[in-house]
Subunit: 202 residues, 2 copies
């Protein structure tokens, strides 16, 4: 973000930053990371490309900012989850929102997959995804611990690692499946996950 200025200037800068991120989200969702040019984002935001570059040095920097917003939202969501059943409820609710194209939900499953693919080619994106993975793993480990506590179980480090890995693969898999199969039966996903997680947690 451009430096300097008083409170009013900072306010205007923050509102421009928000406008750029909203425009970028819309363009990425319609065209994808590669398909959305900086010029299209500028047009959508109603400002010059030069001005956008004063806030974000690259598309990767915009993605990073969007990811940080999502991180804050995810932390808030996950803190409220005490058991695997809560997690499945949340995930099924999210599936419905993603399918409905709910604009209040800043997470875009297709963009998540595209950015994941991009991380195998672009070191800047790779560093961002690696950081995100560490955070997600820690969040999932917390859920595994809380679920075990709710059942009065004490987990070994090995059991914690195994369950965290399984949870992470299941959730990533639901996101991938929801993009690949837009007609996926959300209730069936809920029933399937509930069953396997009940056994995982037992």
């Amino acid at each position: 973000m451009p430096a300097g200025g008083g409170a009013k200037a900072r306010e205007r800068q923050e509102s421009q930053r928000v406008r750029i991120l909203e425009a970028a989200r819309k363009c990425f969702s319609e065209k994808g990371f590669h398909g959305a040019a900086m010029s299209a984002i500028a047009k959508e935001a109603g400002m010059s490309q030069g001005l956008i570059y004063r806030y974000f040095a690259s598309k990767a920097a915009i993605i990073q900012a969007i990811t940080e917003e999502q991180r804050a939202r995810r932390t808030q969501d996950l803190c409220a989850i005490a058991t695997f059943d809560d997690l499945v409820d949340k995930l099924v609710e999210k599936l419905h929102r993603w399918r409905a194209g709910d604009e209040d939900d800043t997470f875009d499953p297709a963009l998540f997959l595209e950015i994941s693919a991009e991380s195998s080619r672009d070191p800047e994106v790779a560093a961002m995804v690696a950081e995100q993975e560490r955070e997600i793993s820690a969040d999932f480990a917390d859920i595994v611990r809380r679920d075990a506590q709710s059942r009065g179980l004490e987990l070994s480090e090995e059991a914690l690692r195994c369950r965290t890995m399984t949870l992470r693969c299941l959730v990533d898999g639901v996101i991938t499946a929801c993009v690949r199969d837009p007609n996926m039966d959300c209730a069936q996903v809920g029933t399937s996950l509930r069953r396997v997680l009940a056994r995982l947690g037992a």
Copy 2:
């Protein structure tokens, strides 16, 4: 593929087709679906762009041909799988090959994610992914049936659907995790999946 010609002409056409697909795989792997231009594929294949268009009308058509090859390979791999343990062995073997960038393995996990994302935007790609999803689901349902048989269990239709969905999410999740975290512990993936699938199958 261009029509007409005798046996010799057909042989030459088939070898050109193979050369285009090899070049495309290399370009897609390095640059991604969007990053790899038809001109770059032509250059890599050592032929004119015009000639490539006589074989494939679009990048989506090339991806379709690559996907069909993968389909043949997958069917072969999955037929040999009788139990969930066999599936995990195969998956861990694949993880090691993907990580090593084994060129004999025509499946590219990052490209899989990128094409999945693209299916949310391009109807031609969406149709291809939908067809692939039907096949994969049928293959996974067969594995669930064979695993149950190996344990002397008879599954209800509902149990079959649940287990197939879970298996599909787990495998898609492993592919996604392997792209997002190139340092993922493959042995840990194996242990985690073996445990959860033992419970799923019980």
